[in-house]
């Protein structure tokens, strides 16, 4: 039974992972992740890669929605910008920068471009909030997808037909299979999560939380709303840009419609299901959001045995399940899975005494 979070030095108090349970959990999680490409089959690696990419994007959404309290329904646009920036950078700088360094430059490039886009899209957040901001970001999403599809930019973006993506290459190590790419995705996802956890013990992260809790009070306390709201958008867009860059390396071809409203809703749904404003919330949410369609697919495969009729109703069922997840969690568990797990851990911790 943990009776308190006792510290003897300031250094110990300031650590990102401030008790040994957290440290143990992170080490165990890293060991578990390392086991996936070594022992998992192709299917597991595929799902794990998808989860890793989603996780980075959802962590970004968590920064802006969960921690800063700015409602955004357009984060798929930043994933799109990151993905297209990577591909365009590869095509443009292919001859200039040696192949083995290209990926190492392209990923930061995509992150920076997305962050800049985040600042632009975040501009309305200075004037409007809540619902108006949700619609403003939604509009930004539609506009970005439209610009990507537009004939005018088709020589760079491939227009409606999408564009082939390059293979990642780390100092001569070509990540041509998904198993190899998983290492890159997993390392970046873990770093992204730790960075997010770290962000909220810094001045910036605390300012975000203050803005979420009451923006006017935060302003009176001397937090510049102007600066921190834009910073929040920039950070979350940078996360999404990183996810987009990995997205581009992961798939052989990207299409504009992969980044439409549905992806934005998926990112928000993951954060609602997992638990807003908690680092682990993103993890739980992504696991559920990626696994539920897969489980439905497996169940339908077992039921139908390849029957065409059942296969046809699978896609709508997946869509309904996705909506039902959002609605169900909002109605019955508004703080998400994180809350359920917290409750379970607390009960375990106090056992056999009071529960709940």
């Amino acid at each position: 039974m943990i009776t308190g979070n006792l510290k003897t030095s300031y250094r110990a108090d300031e650590q990102v992972l401030n008790n040994r349970w957290k440290r143990g959990f992170v080490l165990a999680a890293i060991a578990g992740l390392a086991a996936i490409p070594l022992f998992g089959n192709n299917y597991i690696v595929l799902i794990a890669c998808q989860m890793g990419i989603m996780l980075i994007a959802v962590t970004g959404v968590n920064v802006v929605i969960g921690y800063t309290g700015l409602m955004s329904l357009g984060h798929a646009a930043f994933v799109a910008i990151g993905a297209y920036a990577t591909v365009i950078f590869h095509n443009a700088a292919g001859g200039v920068i040696p192949e083995s360094l290209l990926t190492l430059v392209a990923i930061p490039f995509a992150v920076v471009v997305s962050a800049l886009a985040g600042i632009i899209v975040g501009l309305p957040s200075l004037r409007v909030k809540g619902l108006y901001l949700a619609v403003a970001t939604l509009s930004a999403n539609f506009i970005v997808i439209f610009l990507i599809e537009e004939q005018l930019f088709a020589p760079w973006t491939g227009g409606m037909n999408g564009i082939n993506t390059p293979t990642a290459n780390l100092l001569g190590w070509e990540l041509s299979t998904r198993r190899e790419l998983f290492w890159l995705i997993a390392v970046l996802a873990v770093l992204a999560l730790l960075a997010a956890q770290n962000l909220f013990r810094t001045r910036v992260g605390r300012a975000f939380i203050a803005i979420r809790d009451r923006d006017y009070s935060a302003e009176i306390l001397g937090i510049s709303l102007y600066r921190y709201k834009l910073m929040s958008f920039a950070i979350s867009a940078a996360y999404c840009g990183l996810a987009g860059a990995l997205f581009a390396y992961f798939y052989a071809r990207i299409l504009p419609e992969q980044f439409d409203l549905h992806l934005s809703l998926m990112l928000v749904a993951a954060i609602i299901v997992g638990g807003m404003g908690r680092t682990m919330g993103a993890v739980y949410g992504v696991i559920i959001i990626v696994m539920v369609p897969e489980v439905i697919k497996v169940v339908f495969g077992a039921l139908a045995g390849g029957g065409a009729e059942l296969a046809m109703i699978r896609a709508p069922i997946q869509e309904i399940a996705f909506g039902a997840l959002i609605v169900g969690f909002l109605l019955f568990e508004p703080f998400g899975i994180n809350q359920i797990i917290d409750r379970a851990l607390r009960a375990l911790n106090r056992w056999p005494f009071a529960r709940g």
Binding site: L73, L131, V135, F142, I143, Y216, A269, L331
Partner: protein, 334 residues
């Protein structure tokens, strides 16, 4: 100049339909402070219900002959003497469809009203008093549920649905320019405007309208003054879903039925924010302006550019006037 007038009039006609859809969003917002992100999907359901009752039901074996195509003796006699493509012939063709049009509209209205009630009762009411964020996200979840359900229920390919009014071509001259319109479009515009005005009048002058306005002003005060706020909520949802049903029927006759109808709701959402969420007049102006701008964009830049006009317009308006053209400013207490 002639082209300009023609496209402006086309724009006004689609603007009227935008206004009709927007009225549902505004009503729900006024009563419940919730913006329904899934409104476009309610419209889609309205369109599918209209299709079901106007096309599928009359084809069923138990349906009487006259429901499918109503052709009494006197109509056949009149039809026989008319030349091809005369306006009267178009009117008579429409009259033959009249029974199923009425059945379709009635069915769409009733079914959509029930759907609206169900959503309000089962999903929105348990969240009453909770944060608005949760309610809005709930309507976002509703998007997926409704769009998946529509694909499950109506698997058949959408067919031609009968227009609400005789589709006679109308030509006339205005400022020396030839204008060419379809009768059905004109009638749709008239229907949309009449319903819009009717709802504005209802909210202003009737008892239940006053209840809606009182609830919009202050929920708990309205409650303590004896207004049943839950009833106001369900009334607002029924209002939204029934106007959505009519808009859906109109859109089905104009653009055909497809799951893409749901996306239409997002452009209307942009229009509503542009006009100001709680102002019928502002929303009306915004709807007409976006309709005209869209038509002019289509004329000058091509069809695909027209799709993003509402979104660009709302971004510009929000940046200059954060509460829309005529929306009332929210006053916050710290």
């Amino acid at each position: 100049m002639g082209q300009f007038l023609q496209f402006t009039i086309n724009g006004l006609m689609s603007g009227a339909i935008y206004a009709l859809i927007a009225v549902g969003l505004v009503s729900v917002f006024k009563a419940t402070r919730v913006v329904n992100f899934a409104h476009g999907y309610l419209i889609m359901f309205g369109a599918y219900f209209y299709f079901t009752f106007a096309v599928l039901v009359p084809q069923m074996p138990f349906a009487p002959e006259w429901l499918q195509s109503w052709r009494p003796e006197w109509m056949l006699a009149m039809r026989a003497d008319l030349p091809m493509f005369s306006p009267m012939a178009a009117v008579l063709d429409w009259m033959a469809n009249l029974p199923r049009i009425l059945l379709g509209l009635a069915g769409a209205l009733v079914c959509n009203a029930l759907l609206g009630l169900l959503i309000e009762r089962a999903l929105m009411r348990p969240l009453m008093g909770q944060s608005v964020f949760a309610m809005i996200m709930l309507t976002v979840g509703l998007i997926s549920i409704l769009s998946g359900a529509a694909q499950l229920i109506w698997t058949s390919d959408a067919e031609f649905v009968p227009a609400l009014a005789p589709n006679t071509p109308i030509r006339f001259e205005m400022f020396g320019a030839n204008i060419f319109l379809f009768g059905a479009d004109l009638a749709n515009m008239a229907i949309a405007l009449l319903i819009f005005l009717g709802i504005v009048a209802m909210v202003r002058y009737t008892k239940s309208g006053v209840a809606i306005r009182a609830t919009a002003e202050d929920q708990s005060t309205a409650y303590s003054m004896g207004i049943s706020v839950p009833t106001v909520f369900s009334r607002a949802w029924v209002l939204a879903s029934t106007t959505g049903a009519i808009a859906g029927a109109i859109l089905a006759t104009r653009n055909g039925i497809s799951p893409a109808l749901g996306l239409f709701g997002f452009s209307v959402l942009a229009i509503v924010l542009m006009g100001g969420l709680d102002s019928y007049l502002g929303v009306f102006i915004a709807a007409m302006a976006v309709g005209v701008l869209e038509a002019l964009t289509q004329w000058k830049l091509g069809g695909e550019w027209a799709g993003i006009v509402p979104y660009v317009a709302v971004l510009i308006v929000i940046l200059i006037r954060p509460h829309g053209l005529l929306g009332s400013k929210e006053i916050e207490r710290i």
